[in-house]
């Protein structure tokens, strides 16, 4: 028996034992959701600049939700979901076509900081097509406001089966949670009349072969009209200014809403060594109790051009602390991502945490096999070392206020 025969026999054995339609997606999704609910705030420190850059590129062109599944958990949305603040819609629109497209809008939610919709795209395609669905969402309200996409929340998504028969129809399913910036709402309406357009696109294996891996072919769009209650936020209006590292930082205002906390910050820092935007790391205490620790503020997808003032968000629900008393926001440091020496980081991870990591070409690191047993602790160790090795402008910039 030669190697080719051995390979053929191994393949036959594997195919006999594991059928083409084996599907463990539901079990995996349950475990992922459980893992997400356990995610600590510290986990957000590892949001990759590369990912945010990818989101930026997508947002400036067409924000197809291909990257959403990688963004991670969304404690703010989890909180409003658990508080039964989302509006159930469950409306399905069928687009039909070759792949029998249908879109179900499951829920919507709106507060002063964001609007979120959850929907599922389903259909069926011949196995030979190896179809991947994509969606892009456009949201506007009855007053004409158009909402831009927020880089928070996540996708998720469903799986489909497989088949050895290339003509067999294989169902596909994609579950998306899309969030939009609601800060342009300058009043406090009781509800919002919204129009959501979901554009559908897809890629098949043939298309990828012909046009490249990033090809997307339009499939059409569906539109939903619905009304959702609006929850006003709690607002602190500054400004107040703090100084550190010869940099003045001004907090213009803070808006706390059930699903998200928004900060408008202004500062003029010198360019980082690699020209990438500075990332701000924040702590929040209320009456001396730590409620947010070492959290990397999420930068806007589209920065305000030629301005030192930008809007930052934390997808955390902090409304329970609004009535408590004095808030203290501490920007502990500004760090420039990917300015560290990878060799130094690798060596320190090995020496200090006993963990091997591999650098990636575009910045960032991957844990080597075997993966650490405690990924949370390993991620925290990596974040700590990165924070020490990256180019840093030390704070603290400290701001204090009470909500009226």
């Amino acid at each position: 028996m030669d190697e080719r025969q051995l390979k053929r026999l191994l393949t036959e054995i594997a195919h006999e034992e594991i059928p083409d339609d084996m599907n463990v997606w539901h079990e995996i999704r349950q475990q992922v959701e459980t893992a997400n609910s356990r995610t600590t705030r510290r986990g957000f420190r590892l949001v990759r600049t590369g990912l945010l850059a990818a989101l930026f590129v997508l947002a400036t062109a067409v924000a197809y939700a291909v990257y959403q599944g990688l963004i991670g958990s969304d404690p703010g949305l989890d909180a409003v979901n658990q508080a039964n603040l989302v509006t159930t819609i469950e409306e399905t629109q069928e687009l039909g076509g070759d792949y029998d497209w249908a879109v179900t809008l499951h829920y919507a939610y709106a507060d002063a900081n964001r609007i979120t919709v959850g929907y599922t795209v389903t259909g069926a395609a011949p196995a030979r097509d190896q179809l991947r669905p994509f969606t892009n969402t456009l949201l506007r309200d009855s007053t004409g406001r158009q909402y831009t996409w927020l880089p928070v929340g996540g996708g998720g998504g469903g799986g489909g089966g497989g088949s050895s028969d290339p003509d067999a129809l294989v169902p596909f399913e994609d579950n998306i949670g899309a969030s939009f910036d609601a800060s342009i709402i300058d009043d406090a309406p009781e509800s919002l009349d919204l129009t959501l357009t979901i554009q559908l696109a897809y890629a098949t294996e043939d298309a990828r072969q012909e046009f490249g891996p990033d090809v997307m072919l339009p499939a059409g769009d569906v539109t939903f009209e619905f009304t959702v209650p609006f929850i006003a936020g709690h607002r602190y209006d500054g400004p107040q200014t703090a100084s550190a590292s010869a940099i003045d930082m001004t907090l213009q205002d803070v808006v706390v809403a059930p699903s998200l906390t928004r900060l408008d910050l202004c500062f003029a820092a010198p360019p980082s060594d690699n020209g990438k935007p500075w990332a701000a790391f924040a702590d929040v205490t209320v009456d001396g109790n730590v409620v947010v620790e070492d959290f990397q503020l999420l930068s806007p997808i589209v920065p305000v051009a030629d301005s030192d003032c930008q809007q930052y968000v934390m997808p955390l629900s902090l409304v329970e602390y609004v009535e408590s008393g004095e808030w203290t926001l501490t920007i502990a440091a500004l760090r420039a991502p990917d300015t560290e020496s990878p060799d130094t980081v690798i060596q320190r991870m090995r020496d200090e945490a006993g963990i091997n990591i591999t650098p990636l070409e575009d910045g960032g690191y991957m844990f080597s096999e075997p993966l650490p047993e405690d990924m949370t602790a390993a991620s925290a160790a990596l974040a700590d070392i990165l924070s020490e090795e990256q180019q840093t402008l030390e704070g603290p910039w400290v701001f204090q206020w009470r909500f009226e």
Binding site: Q5, A14, I18, V24, R29, G69, G155, L360
Partner: protein, 170 residues
């Protein structure tokens, strides 16, 4: 994530099955491997091929599962790596001479089961996943020489086991 699961779950389960030799364990391995991949996805470069990176996780997860389950291995009466009595068997006919026999697949099944888990993983990576010896070494975090030796031993033992089975049946 859903599209990754859809695309790789069956292949991953087949790899896991060949190593664990247990369907239920293979499904558990796939779930655990995707969860591990998900937890470390912020360190994964999406422009790189996902499959080799993920299959390394699957192989290691399968090995961990098998090694944790020593009780089941002993109930199966599997040979432990390095068992000297095993090495004394006559290799019997060449593998080429029995390739056409209808029972060959069943014999390969039994031979696979009798290999030590790490040898089985090496065989699966080399002959099912088409990994190079260097890639296997990286996946198992073993020196290349160790992998080469392990593959050599596994091939020899496969031949021996196949020969032994045929002799018993004949």
């Amino acid at each position: 994530m859903a599209s990754l699961v859809e695309r790789y779950q069956v292949h991953a389960a087949r790899v896991a099955y060949l190593i664990t030799q247990d369907r239920s364990q293979a499904e558990d391995v796939v779930q655990a491997a995707f969860l591990r991949a998900y937890r470390s996805i912020d360190g994964f470069d999406p422009r790189r091929p996902f499959q080799p990176w993920f299959m390394r996780i699957v192989v290691n997860q399968a090995l961990q599962t098998v090694q944790r389950d020593r009780r089941e291995l002993s109930l199966d009466g599997d040979r432990q790596a390095g068992d000297p009595s095993f090495m004394l068997h006559d290799p019997g006919p060449t593998l080429e001479s029995i390739a056409e026999q209808t029972e060959l697949k069943q014999q390969v099944r039994q031979a696979l089961k009798a290999l030590a888990p790490e040898e089985r993983a090496a065989v699966v990576m080399r002959y099912y996943l088409d990994f190079t010896e260097r890639e296997i070494a990286a996946a198992l975090e073993r020196p290349a020489g160790t992998v080469k030796w392990r593959l050599h031993e596994a091939r020899k033992q496969l031949r021996t086991l196949l020969g032994e089975t045929e002799a018993e049946e004949g």
